[in-house]
Subunit: 353 residues, 4 copies
Amino acid sequence: MSKIRVAVLGATGMIGQRFVQMLEDHPYFEIEGLYASERSCGKKLKDVLKVRDHVFKEETLGMGIEATDVKKIAKNSRAAFSGIPSDIAGRTESDLAKNGVAVFTNAGAHRMDRNVAILIPEVNPSHLNSVKDQDTYKNGGYIVTNANCSSTGIAPPLTAIRNAYGLDFVSVSTYQALSGAGYPGVPSLDAVGNVIPFISGEEEKIESELAKMLGTYEKGEFRYAKFVTLANCARVPVIDGHLESLVIRTDKIPSADELAETLRSYRGEPQTLKLPSAPEQPIIVRNEDNRPQPALDAMAGAPGRAKGMSVVVGRIRKSGEYHKLFVLSHNTIRGGAGGAVLNAEFAKAKGML
Amino acid sequence: MSKIRVAVLGATGMIGQRFVQMLEDHPYFEIEGLYASERSCGKKLKDVLKVRDHVFKEETLGMGIEATDVKKIAKNSRAAFSGIPSDIAGRTESDLAKNGVAVFTNAGAHRMDRNVAILIPEVNPSHLNSVKDQDTYKNGGYIVTNANCSSTGIAPPLTAIRNAYGLDFVSVSTYQALSGAGYPGVPSLDAVGNVIPFISGEEEKIESELAKMLGTYEKGEFRYAKFVTLANCARVPVIDGHLESLVIRTDKIPSADELAETLRSYRGEPQTLKLPSAPEQPIIVRNEDNRPQPALDAMAGAPGRAKGMSVVVGRIRKSGEYHKLFVLSHNTIRGGAGGAVLNAEFAKAKGML
Amino acid sequence: MSKIRVAVLGATGMIGQRFVQMLEDHPYFEIEGLYASERSCGKKLKDVLKVRDHVFKEETLGMGIEATDVKKIAKNSRAAFSGIPSDIAGRTESDLAKNGVAVFTNAGAHRMDRNVAILIPEVNPSHLNSVKDQDTYKNGGYIVTNANCSSTGIAPPLTAIRNAYGLDFVSVSTYQALSGAGYPGVPSLDAVGNVIPFISGEEEKIESELAKMLGTYEKGEFRYAKFVTLANCARVPVIDGHLESLVIRTDKIPSADELAETLRSYRGEPQTLKLPSAPEQPIIVRNEDNRPQPALDAMAGAPGRAKGMSVVVGRIRKSGEYHKLFVLSHNTIRGGAGGAVLNAEFAKAKGML
Amino acid sequence: MSKIRVAVLGATGMIGQRFVQMLEDHPYFEIEGLYASERSCGKKLKDVLKVRDHVFKEETLGMGIEATDVKKIAKNSRAAFSGIPSDIAGRTESDLAKNGVAVFTNAGAHRMDRNVAILIPEVNPSHLNSVKDQDTYKNGGYIVTNANCSSTGIAPPLTAIRNAYGLDFVSVSTYQALSGAGYPGVPSLDAVGNVIPFISGEEEKIESELAKMLGTYEKGEFRYAKFVTLANCARVPVIDGHLESLVIRTDKIPSADELAETLRSYRGEPQTLKLPSAPEQPIIVRNEDNRPQPALDAMAGAPGRAKGMSVVVGRIRKSGEYHKLFVLSHNTIRGGAGGAVLNAEFAKAKGML
């Protein structure tokens, strides 16, 4: 079976390069071209390397970067993975969809659009159907977004918990990694030895995206889930891995052990379908009293393709009618490129690619 | 007027050295001696220097360190400032009190004791009376504790808020500095580029200390305040300054601006008494969207003695019936040595020294 | 005596703000205005604050920033302190000199110019005379540059050593702080947990500036000193304070103790003249085996104005005909704004202001 | 062919765990047991995990740790890999050799011993013969040491250069990673935002080990190479990867390009023998102007077993009769466990295992 040809957009950025990493030797997809803005045109991937922890193959490093050209991409690729900055992604992605390209994007531009799913296949697989209601779908073009990097980490455990016990209240504080701001991102003079208690638009995204993802899609409409979400977001001097503290209140109140078991045993469609980038265990629960930690747990997941695709939960404590816990996820893999690649694998499994 | 002679205990540690810093040229107190464990005996302060941001006077740097000797301290000093590690502080502090020494301690050993106040003069000035009920008080010896460093930062704003609007619910997540773990404290391999979501006993301390401090002392008994407190504590790679995110619910629900004004205009007894280490404004409110930051705000307070003694609040946001805000305080000054020095100044103003 | 009115250029940058810090309450100078590029026009200093370790006065924080206007500055100020980025500083500084303004600049634009001294008053005080040969001097306008931040640290010890023993060979490796790159400067993704072994143009500057500063000015010409200088420059994740390792070979070969004593006892004209920003001891020698360290020693110098103005030397070791040592200096104070302020104080003492 | 059974000593430490990483699925060796001090006895590897960038297999994480027992190890294992701290390694390693165990150690205890090679197979393969002169060799027991982590990085390029052009003078300044100090190692309060210009004994080790390794072994005696080595060592806040700046003088003086080519094309016996942990290219030369960097280059080497085993050189500049360059190597892989594993592979290829 020949592989599906795909384009990587925003290939000079952190997320773009994670796409390249996730797509090296992918069983379904092969990279047709790397695209970025005009000014990177002519450079090779190795000239603009930002990913620090993956050893790329020499031939990958030697791939050239081209200026983004919708017609050319549409001609050569069935799908595109977009790591374009959110503020300029909207138009390009729409044009690609109009030209018959399936777009799997990490950008936020279309997340709250009418028939566009914010898809995490372990959380809201049925939302993929919304895509079929997009005007461009009949020509094969459509847009699937993944969630913001800080929403992504907490959505799977909150889904597992909501399914088992009902969910009423969520207070989340984030400890977000620098790679989430892209490159050049946060100046080092602000970052080293410091915490910045502000990430523009982030708290609003967590609150609205969770409600959309944990809601339903019926008769062409998204209906939002109804629980209180309160987010405080901060940037910490960590390279990769968003840590988040949670205080939640459920309808039924399990013991801490029951809650842990609910999370640990949770499985979604990607696990049933054995998708290439799906971790065996979407939510790993650690019992040590000082985990999860970005340095130790960001890369959790089965060795191989699913590295960085598991969410890690720890320090589950019951306090009265509330539970407290910490959640960690890799913000540029599960919460970035890896999330979009998994969405594409899921779309293929559903016959949409 | 001659100054009151004081001893500094635990003088080789981070808190001990902050005591020395706060007591240099103090208008009420003069350091009689620096004390630590046997093995530091004979060293000079400059041999064991840990404070990075204060230029000590040469004569201070040349002060010798002696082995802790209760009898000697009792003979030479009216009061002692204790930066002894909590796990070994209890006995020494009790012995000093029995020997007529007024002990102002940063250690946690006696915080939950029967007639021992956890004192922040802007929060619970009347609790100082509990000290007079200590058995040793009649001989001039007594123990006053300050709060844990992460309780200290949030207690003043929560007091101001409780007084104005009533307080029902507090969810706090901490971003705590490395200096809070003392020295050698956290290994650098764990700290650099990482967050550790666990500080032993810290969450319990926040929950119990807040209830005690915001409660009352009547007829020889502390009665605890009744509101829900839920704490998640984590260590971040910052040298000084504990940042904390708060979600609170009040009985009356003010606008964000009203809440800000309540905090900004809050004053306590130290301000009325114009104590040497009291900042003019105990709670500084910043309007910028990315403050408070440890690197920029830890040293807030009027220039001079009160540097590092103000709590800084920012990002006050109303969300339904909740408010969200960030609080920063200097963990080894206001939340450590400075807090105890202010307690001693307050005790002196009340005629207890 | 009324103070000399001065302008601060590049006031939104790190160096510009260090100028403001050094000029607060200065006995000779008072700030007439803060200038920067058009786009910062209308902002206040507190809106663009970058200095992390100084508590500015409220009135200073409230000073407005104006667009740089040579005519206006020339009308209102006798002198200007320039923290303009080197690549755009040249023209503005020349224009100011033509308009009768004495310019003390941290920018590199004019450093290698014909009659322009790279001045460190402890190193080459006689070079100030070169300034009198500038065409604009007759109208009171002239340019004095300070050395590059990494040249500044090693020039005083090398001068003391050259004077005493002759100097033949210098190999220097730098551990340079992030603030040396200005703001936004180095992206945090490159800086955190990393070292970057390249700073554009830096090695060439060290090699040429040292030769010029340690040379002579005779008959309108600079003659360069003749010794080998080999520089390797790298950026480390430190906020302030350039550390540099040195291997040197002298003509006469002293013991390590003799060399230490030569450095410790070195004094220059600023010390004789008791200039306000001159440290009592321009070179501090530390005997501990693990000093100097940026975190502990960058702020060395007498308390007060000269904080950050001393160079700190440590780990002096003799090895055959070579000596090895480490040198630390504060890159934005002694190696930046403080150096230029000291130059202005020195010019005033010489009757040139 | 059955695998050779080996023991890992010091398995709770950073180096010990790198041994485990390098030995997972090794084609020659299989781990018979993990050993450490009494107090870790009964723990599992996952309880004491320190390696941050490797995903261990579940069965590896579940391996138990036993108290070090020479008799037991001698009974069960043909060889031992020692990550025991240098100050306590000497006796245990001697005892193992006496009991017939081949010891490949990262500890410094025996490095300068009479018939003990400091072996880097790309540098001094013939030194392995010295081992045959050890008294215990006839019983199959012997000790092979690898070089100190900071000597290891520079030895291969200096060997290549010496072979081609002769070598006269080496000045090296190190930027050493925190993992080199083991665990807990450097306190975070000393490390974050700081550089420490001292590592006990390190400069002496570089100077003596280089002379021994680049010398010869003849008639039972090591003869030391004769060139000047001057080392300045410092610790920087980097997790893994020692960067080193070099100034060298050769007898014949090549152009920078010639020197680069000499390094790039260098191959040693491990390459000829295609040993499992030998990188295809022992010295990688990078042409970018800002490489090598610890964050990007520490893991250099062919993907797979040799990850972290290449030395990376960059910024080769000729300056008069000197050359300047930067060298990077992974201090706990090539300069630690990986070096010892390669030594064992080499010994096996030579029929000594």
